[in-house]
Structures are given as structure tokens and as C-alpha cells.
């Protein structure tokens, strides 16, 4: 009971922090809007007629939506490092709650932070006249919740291997950028050469993007790579592994300096 309460408190703290940090809210919206508004629109205008019936704006929109939620949540976890540098994490780590609760609370909090961003992007999608029906929106909302939690767990495993916020800022582009393309946010990945196909299957973001496209397009559209069940099973497994191994490594690194 008190663990659950502590997880809620940790999550709420992250959410309060977001609401009080206007600058971050604006910055968080900028990139997805550029990707969808400029890249998505221009791809559709230029190559749309040759894409065999696939709307490229829709394709980029769904890709960026999944990527934003996933990455925002993962990046949010890195703020544990910033907390450590401001020595606030000391306060959290001397408290008697379980280390897993701390990480879980953090993941939940960063998911709460990622979802309002998704709302903004969806609103932008309506402005661009991307069609989304109510049942589609419900499926997408559920998928995004899963994606946010999954992104948070990915953040933990990255975080556990970093020593400072500076290291995180340097490493993160190398961890994220390749996944943009391996997960097929803008580009098709149905027919990849074998080495790239292997790498693509290793990129966790692939499953997040695919799950969201499944919710948007439906499983029989030909855009989706794997069934929702397969994606969910892979995401579930990775979540548990990232979470358990990441927390273990993180706590060990904290205590054995």
C-alpha cells in the first residue's frame, strides 16, 4: 500500500515538474511538428502518387507519434541522472521504499509526461486532415500507454550504464537516431537487406512503432509488420528484462562508487 502510494507520489512529482516547465513543453512539441508538418507533407506531395496507395503523411504521422512518446518517456528517465547531480536523488534513495518502486514510479511519471505530448500531436494530425475515427483513437491511446511504459523501461537500461547527464546527452543521439530509421518512422522497412533487417529486429523502437501502426491502420492493411499479439509479447518481455536488469545495475552503480 505504501509502496503504491510512493509510486504515485513519484509519478505526480514528474507531472508537476512538466506543468511548471513551459519551455520544455514548447520544445517537446517542436520536433514532431517539424517532422510531420514538413517532412510528412512534402513526402506525400512529392512521392505520394508512386507509393501504391499508401498515404505517406499518415505513415510519417504514425511513426513520429510512436517515436515521440517512446523517446520522451525514455529521455525522462534520464532525469534521474540530473536529480543525482542536484542531489535530490539522495533524498529518494535514502527513503525506505523499494528501488523497483522508485524506478516504476519514475516510468509512470514520465509516461504521464509523454501522453499530453501525444495529444498535441494528434490535434496537429486533425489540422492536417488525417482521418482518425473514435475506435481508432481508442486503440491508439491504449497502444501509446504501452509504448510510453516501454520507452521508460528502455530509458532505465540506458541510464544504468551512464554516469552523468553529460554522458547521457552525448550518448543518446547514437542510441536513438539509428532507431529512427531501423524502426521505419519515415522509411519503409518491409524489404531490408539482411544485415539491416537483423539490426531492425534488434531495435526496440521497431516494436513500439509497429504497435501504433497496427492501432491506426488495422492488422490487414499490409503496412504492419507483425501482429499486435507478437508485438505485445516482445514489448512485455523486453519491459520486464529492461526494468529488472536496469534497476539492478543502476542501484549497484549508485552504491558502489
Amino acid at each position: 500500500m505504501s509502496e503504491a502510494s510512493a509510486i504515485l507520489a513519484l509519478a505526480h512529482r514528474d507531472f508537476i515538474k512538466l506543468l511548471r516547465d513551459r519551455q520544455r513543453m514548447v520544445a517537446d512539441f517542436a520536433f514532431p511538428l517539424i517532422f510531420i508538418g514538413i517532412l510528412g507533407t512534402s513526402l506525400q506531395a512529392g512521392f505520394g502518387s508512386q507509393a501504391g496507395g499508401l498515404n505517406l503523411l499518415d505513415y510519417v504521422f504514425t511513426g513520429v507519434l510512436a517515436q515521440t512518446v517512446w523517446q520522451s518517456s525514455a529521455l525522462g528517465l534520464i532525469s534521474l541522472l540530473a536529480d543525482r547531480e542536484q542531489d535530490f536523488s539522495q533524498e529518494i534513495f535514502v527513503s525506505p521504499i523499494s528501488r523497483y518502486s522508485i524506478i516504476l514510479g519514475k516510468i509512470l511519471g514520465e509516461s504521464l509526461v509523454a501522453l499530453p505530448q501525444a495529444l498535441g500531436i494528434i490535434a496537429f494530425g486533425f489540422i492536417l486532415q488525417i482521418h482518425m475515427g473514435p475506435d481508432q483513437l481508442v486503440r491508439m491511446a491504449l497502444a501509446m500507454l504501452v509504448i510510453a511504459l516501454f520507452g521508460g523501461a528502455f530509458g532505465v537500461i540506458v541510464l544504468a550504464n551512464l554516469s552523468s547527464q553529460r554522458a547521457a546527452n552525448q550518448i543518446f543521439p547514437f542510441v536513438m537516431l539509428p532507431q529512427f530509421f531501423l524502426a521505419g518512422i519515415f522509411n519503409p522497412i518491409q524489404h531490408l537487406p539482411l544485415p539491416l533487417d537483423i539490426l531492425s529486429h534488434l531495435a526496440p523502437m521497431r516494436y513500439a512503432v509497429d504497435l501504433l501502426r497496427d492501432a491506426f491502420y488495422g492488422s490487414s492493411s499490409g503496412v504492419v509488420l507483425s501482429s499486435a499479439t507478437t508485438n505485445l509479447a516482445i514489448i512485455g518481455t523486453l519491459f520486464v528484462v529492461f526494468m529488472v536488469v536496469g534497476t539492478f545495475l543502476f542501484v549497484r552503480a549508485e552504491r558502489n562508487r
Partner: protein, 302 residues
């Protein structure tokens, strides 16, 4: 014992001591002596490389969670969340320690919580500012807030790691008064590290460490007595008569005039009374703790 990764020497090297319940205990030492490392190990934020400790019967390695529940800590560097208000920081703490269930606003928190916050805020003199953002707080107020927060879960032991570092003198003094008030009302064991000596003078017992080793341990009086000589300086117009008399009385004198007479357990009064030669100079030397401390630290750094 603790050796940091990549360090060539042990930061804390085989130190061992006991603190009694309810005591005001001071860990004193110069910068880099190992004070913070010791506190970090005792509060479970660092693992010892070897050795162990128990706090109120709980082992710091095997029963870390139980230890965390029993201790409160004020870190050397402030550990408040700047994005939150003072009360939100306190609420966060209360929930993490499982004292009260979480609610998103102050008004929705349990009645017991609100009563406790009001009581502690009043005790520390920050009742008016409790709902303001921590960003707007001065250094002294932040310290008070941290003390208030750490007392919320009624810790058996309150650890303070150089709590007054960087505060001006009036703030330091009021903080100190508040802390003694807290100690009187709650009976909490206080474990303080500091390099300010006047803060150690009032301690029940002091442990002086330097370079990771215990240099001296005891009450402030013990430490003064053991480590710095107390003597009375005397001189007379008739120096040879005085020297003869001192030798006859069995007082060890060293060097020439003025003569240094070691107290060796006598009082200054009894020594002076036994001397019949008219004295021209009488000077007593009773060391302060600062003298003792400087003596100890200069010895080990040779």
C-alpha cells in the same frame, strides 16, 4: 572500511565507534577526512568495501531498508526539489516513508499530516512560507525545511552532514537553537559532522577523524585533557628561589623562566597556594577544543 573506485588510498580506513541512544555525537575532522563517506555508509547510500555497522540493531548492509526507516539525514548539499513548494517537498517525504498515503493536494492529505506539518513548521519558524516554492527560499530557510522534513518520520538517529556550511553566523546560530530545541523535545540521537569547533563543544561525545582514521574519541573534556597540556606559567623576581621551591614541591618544570608548571590533576589554586616565593607573573593555560583539535590535526599531517 571504504575505498572508492580508482582511489589509491582508503577514504575511511578501519574506523570503529559506538554512539549511545539519545546522545549528541559529533564526528569532527578537516576537509577530506572521511566524514561524508562515513555518513553515506551509515545511511546506506554507499556500500562499505569491507566491515559493517548496525543502527538501532539493524545491519546497514543486510537490513538497509530497516535502517533507512530509522534514520533521518540532512545532506551536505541541499537535497530539496526546486520545482516543488516547501510543503510538496515535505509531503513527498512523508509518502516515501510510508507515513501518510498520497494525495495530490495539501487539502486532501490526512488530517494528521497537516497537523504535523503545522507543528514542525512552527517549531522551525517557517510556518508563513510553507506553501511557497523552494526556489524563493534563502539558504537558511532551506536548511530549516530539510530539518523539518527529516524529522517527519520520527527518526531514531538524525544525521547532519555539515548542516551549517555556507550559512552566515546569525543563521547558523538560530539553526542551532532550533536544533537543540528539537533534540530536547524529541530525544532523537543526533549524529553531526562538522569542522566548526564551537558546534562540537556542546557534544556529549566527539570522535575526531583524519585521513580516514580515528584520531581521538571521548567527551570534549576528555579530548582536551588527553591531548593538550594544561599548565600554569609562573615567574618571580627571585628566579632561583622559585626554581628550587618548585623542584622541592615535586612539580616538573621545563626550560627557563617563566616556568611552566604542569597541572597533572592539581588545580591551579592548590599549586599557587603551595608556592611561597612571591610571584611576579601568573598565567594559566587552559586549552580550548580548538587548540586540541589543531594539535591533533597538525600531528597527523606530519
Amino acid at each position: 572500511m571504504k575505498r572508492y573506485k580508482k582511489a589509491e588510498t582508503n577514504a575511511v580506513d578501519g574506523i570503529s565507534f559506538q554512539v549511545k541512544a539519545g546522545e549528541f555525537f559529533v564526528l569532527l575532522g578537516p576537509n577530506g577526512a572521511g566524514k561524508t563517506t562515513t555518513i553515506s555508509i551509515l545511511t546506506t547510500t554507499l556500500s562499505p568495501t569491507s566491515g559493517g555497522a548496525t543502527i538501532d540493531g539493524s545491519d546497514i548492509v543486510r537490513e538497509a531498508s530497516a535502517v533507512r526507516r530509522k534514520v533521518g539525514i540532512i545532506f551536505q548539499r541541499p537535497s530539496l526539489d526546486q520545482n516543488l513548494t516547501a510543503e510538496e517537498n515535505v509531503r513527498f517525504h512523508a509518502v516515501l516513508y510510508g507515513i501518510f498515503p498520497y494525495a495530490p493536494t495539501y487539502a486532501l492529505m490526512a488530517r494528521g499530516y497537516r497537523a504535523k506539518v503545522e507543528e514542525l513548521a512552527k517549531l522551525l519558524g517557517i510556518a508563513r512560507d510553507i506553501h511557497k516554492p523552494v526556489k524563493t527560499f534563502s539558504g537558511g530557510m532551506r536548511r530549516k525545511l530539510e530539518i523539518m522534513r527529516s524529522l517527519l518520520h520520527d527518526p531514531k538517529v538524525l544525521f547532519l552532514d555539515e548542516p551549517t556550511a555556507g550559512l552566515d553566523v546569525p543563521t547558523r546560530r538560530t539553526l542551532w537553537e532550533h536544533l537543540s530545541e528539537v533534540r530536547r523535545t524529541s530525544g532523537t540521537t543526533v549524529f553531526l559532522t562538522t569542522h566548526y569547533l564551537e558546534e562540537a563543544e556542546e557534544a556529549d561525545r566527539i570522535c575526531i577523524i583524519d585521513k580516514g582514521k580515528v584520531v581521538s574519541f571521548g567527551t570534549p573534556d576528555d579530548i582536551k585533557r588527553d591531548l593538550v597540556e594544561e599548565y600554569v606559567l609562573v615567574d618571580a623576581t627571585d628566579r632561583s628561589a622559585l626554581r628550587d621551591e618548585l623542584t622541592r614541591l615535586g612539580h616538573a618544570t621545563s626550560g627557563g623562566a617563566p616556568f611552566k608548571v604542569q597541572l597533572d590533576g592539581h588545580t591551579v589554586h592548590s599549586i599557587l597556594r603551595s608556592i611561597e616565593t612571591p610571584l611576579s607573573v601568573v598565567k594559566t593555560h587552559t586549552p580550548t577544543l580548538e587548540d586540541a583539535y589543531l594539535e591533533i590535526v597538525s600531528k597527523t599531517s606530519e
